[in-house]
Point group: C2
Chain length 251, copies 2
């Protein structure tokens, strides 16, 4: 039943929840749904979708699928975080995109009928719903409006990808790339507090480097420098930052 491989052992819904996760049994109850492809669906359609999905729980750094495999279905990240990476033969890999709760994994490859262009791996313990390819395709054919929403969704993904390319290619320096990345994160997940914008932060310097195309050491040095200049302040696993000042640093 399961196509996914995992570094760690695999676990299935309805077992006693491991990894400290609470399992959401029904898509209709899922708080993440509002943000996704499947928002604004009729109750009836929702029920249909609920019928054809299976749920699994994964630990952190579990591999959902690997670049080059053929897709056997669609993954929905119900909770937790994941990353999409692309590797070279020599083993290095870049992070193409971070994926948050409510987002889909592997949609484009499934739709295009081609092999996965990236590897998906969880960053935190995560609940993941799986919809087998056949059933999803039948669902699409019987719900033309959803097909259009899929197209919309893919368009937005494409734009994000271009945005990323712009970030990487147009920034004059690594310093600027890092500053812009922080600002982007602040925009997406930041909460404004009196000290500045607070951003949760569970990513190693190594991984940040793989996003902006820099070495671990450079990321380390730049972050130190940002701290020294009071552009950011680290508290536990959160970063407080002052958007205006940081933007200025992103020459």
């Amino acid at each position: 039943m399961q196509t996914a491989t995992s570094k760690a052992s695999l676990s299935v819904a309805n077992s006693a929840a491991p990894y400290g996760l609470r399992v959401v049994e029904n898509c209709a109850d899922c708080s993440a749904r509002q943000k996704t492809l499947f928002c604004r669906m009729s109750v009836e359609t929702m029920r249909e979708l609920n019928m054809i999905r299976q749920t699994a729980l994964y630990p952190a750094s579990a591999v959902l699928f690997v670049e080059g495999e053929m897709p056997r279905g669609l993954f929905v990240l119900c909770s937790g975080e994941a990353k999409l990476t692309a590797g070279s033969k020599q083993g290095e890999a870049i992070i193409l995109r971070l994926v948050e709760a409510g987002e889909l994994l592997g949609l484009s490859s499934l739709i295009a009928g081609s092999s996965y262009a990236a590897t998906a791996e969880t960053l935190t313990p995560a609940q993941v719903a799986f919809i087998p390819a056949r059933k999803f395709q039948r669902f699409l054919r019987t719900h033309p409006d959803v097909a259009l929403r899929v197209a919309e969704h893919l368009s937005m993904e494409l734009h994000k990808s271009w945005e990323q390319a712009r970030l990487l290619a147009l920034a004059p320096s690594t310093r600027s790339k890092l500053a812009q990345l922080l600002l982007e994160w602040a925009n997406e997940h930041g909460k404004t507090e009196e000290e500045g914008v607070c951003v949760p932060f569970h990513m190693t310097h190594e991984e940040i480097g793989r996003i902006i195309g820099a070495s671990r050491e450079t990321v380390s040095r730049l972050l130190s420098d940002f701290k020294r200049r009071r552009l950011i302040r680290v508290k536990g696993s959160s970063v407080y930052l002052v958007p205006e000042e940081l933007r200025a640093a992103a020459i």
Copy 2:
């Protein structure tokens, strides 16, 4: 009727063909159609599509749409070549993608209902069909199978974009990026001849630099070097290259 702005003057189908282009009157006769989104459509569907499209001719380096504008329709590049670029405030721009005859321009923004994320500009004289947004949306709603093909198409675009990111980020040197770019072009448009693979070549060193993120001078130097090492040979506006050797150079 026209939304496009252009550095040069605008011209409309049925006028005496300027820019040395032959005008294709009917989509069904278009040789580029086979490769596109609209291949394998029924004659009837094709006729419908033909009804709602308008054709225009543009000179080289005409701007079809600009980053930030709202899309007013879909462009189909019937003949010629174009590029998609993304710019920074400071005026620099990168080339996100080259677009060939038969491909679509602005599909993702139209579908997503968002403003253009890139600027489209012709590289050669080109014939362009235009389908107004409203009519295209109606067409999509009445042809659910086409909506799915649109999704497929967008998926492939997304994969190309990732492929580009991989090229840029994983290559160890500019030298390698350039070699890989040439190989990619050889794959897509190359014709194998006795001298090696022949690739048509109408792009300045400056523009190549904007694709791989390098300066004009570096591109110049690297190409010279490739010539010296007999990895490529320039003849007129074509490049002959030996894939195997070049691949080796792409350390």
